[in-house]
Symmetry: C2
Subunit: 278 residues, 2 copies
């Protein structure tokens, strides 16, 4: 496995590669969710690249980025084990030469970014769209793998790649979960023991809501009950919504397979997000 | 010469090309200024591509775009004559599938775009940065040629290409002028006979100002006198400013070669811009 520390090296190596390239963009602190993305890329592509970059542009809260877990040595071992051929791990100043000033150029996606994570975390999706555009331009993969756990992000990245004509197919892959259903996330490490015990309730409530909606119960009532169940379990609810699975637009009626339930809620200081298909 | 009407065809042909590719992005209505860009690309690159696309995203005023000159047949002849190998002429719906809705994704450049053309034409540079990013991604040229006449645009495009790590070198080339000094522009066609006679005064005043600054006269006074001269000649002055030639930042003192004089002024209904080095 080759480790590339600069965008120039990433580009130079990319030029030597033949066959299909799959990129798995990550912020490190790799877990089984990332491993499933790398494994899928290895199945589908001749060459698998993993980028590891904790992107300061997508963090609103300076404290959040200061505490974000950084485990580069372990991550490199995970990448090698999972079948990656190349790891691209640039520094902040290589990605954003003027940092701590943000780059002058921003990529932003209207519409899809207005609600939920976009509303809760101002500037977050501009940071995501900008860094993913840069990574896709630097590495020019044929495929890029993203987890469905960050469902809104997956849709934003897909829209951005289409709108800018980037020659890549964005692949969304199912969320990987702990045995008790909690979605794998680097942020799970922040949970206290008690919070960790309560955390799987987010997925359980989403599944229950999806089941009720599937059985024809009325949407507003199902969502109200789901929200109440989460608050009883100790969550501070941020949102719990049913949306069109492709466009994230509001829905008039429920058609099977076309609806996605999206939720975010805080347990103590940790904000968890999750989503399920109806 | 090959004419490519769609981004997919542009990408497919690009993949077959070996050697260096130079792109000259235009909005058509080609004049000697464009020809000089194409000729320079032909000197420097193995393959010369010209894009012809009247980009609706960079026009604020619907009337302006409705009246923008469209001369595709003549333009194709000019391209062939000037040495182009490929012309990329997509339709609006191929570039922006949701049009008349703008694309969800925008590329924007802060700082450089705040003043002058950015202030006079809100949204203009977002439209320029977005379409040029798309063209550079679709055609992936090694070099892209822009005229210095649109000096602020040249700086914005260069910043965008650097910030997004697009694998292209942006080349700025000197403004081509009529015998009487008027900068070549597709918009010159809008001038009445009387306005056309007055128009070269813009360049003459810029040159006079540059001369005075070079001889050590004080900047504010030189610019005041230049503005007054333009208004006496029938111009409605929009701006006349001296700026750092690279960053467009305000300047404390005048160093030779590092200062650019930028001006925009209206003659009747037509807005003219021009700039000179000091």
């Amino acid at each position: 496995m080759v480790t590339l520390p600069t965008p120039a090296e990433a580009r130079a190596v990319r030029r030597t590669l033949r066959g299909t390239v799959g990129l798995v963009p990550t912020m490190g602190a790799l877990h089984r969710g990332h491993i499933s993305l790398i494994a899928r890329a290895a199945e589908q592509c001749d060459v698998v690249a993993v980028s590891i970059f904790v992107n300061p542009l997508q963090f609103g809260d300076p404290e959040d980025i200061a505490h974000y877990p950084r485990t580069l040595e372990a991550d490199l071992a995970v990448c090698a084990e999972a079948g990656a051929h190349v790891v691209f791990a640039p520094t902040v100043s290589e990605m954003y030469p003027a940092w701590p000033d943000p780059p002058a150029t921003a990529v932003s996606v209207r519409g899809l970014t207005e609600n939920w994570e976009g509303a809760s975390r101002p500037g977050h999706f501009d940071g995501v769209a900008t860094v993913v555009a840069k990574l896709l331009i630097q590495c020019t993969p044929d495929f890029a793998m993203f987890g469905e756990k960050d469902y809104q992000q997956l849709k934003v990245v897909n829209q951005m790649a289409n709108d800018l004509d980037l020659p890549v197919t964005i692949i969304g892959l199912p969320t990987v979960r702990e045995k008790d259903g909690l979605a794998m996330s680097s942020r799970n490490a922040y949970l206290t023991v008690a919070e960790r015990m309560a955390a799987p309730m987010l997925y359980r409530v989403l599944k229950e809501c999806a089941g009720k909606i599937g059985r024809g119960q009325l949407l507003p009532r199902v969502l109200d009950e789901g929200g109440a169940a989460l608050e009883r379990a100790g969550f501070m609810l941020d949102y719990l919504e049913a949306r069109n699975a492709e466009t994230l637009a509001t829905i008039d009626r429920v058609d099977k397979g076309s609806v996605r339930l999206l939720a975010a809620a805080r347990l103590g200081r940790t904000r968890l997000i999750d989503n399920v298909a109806v």
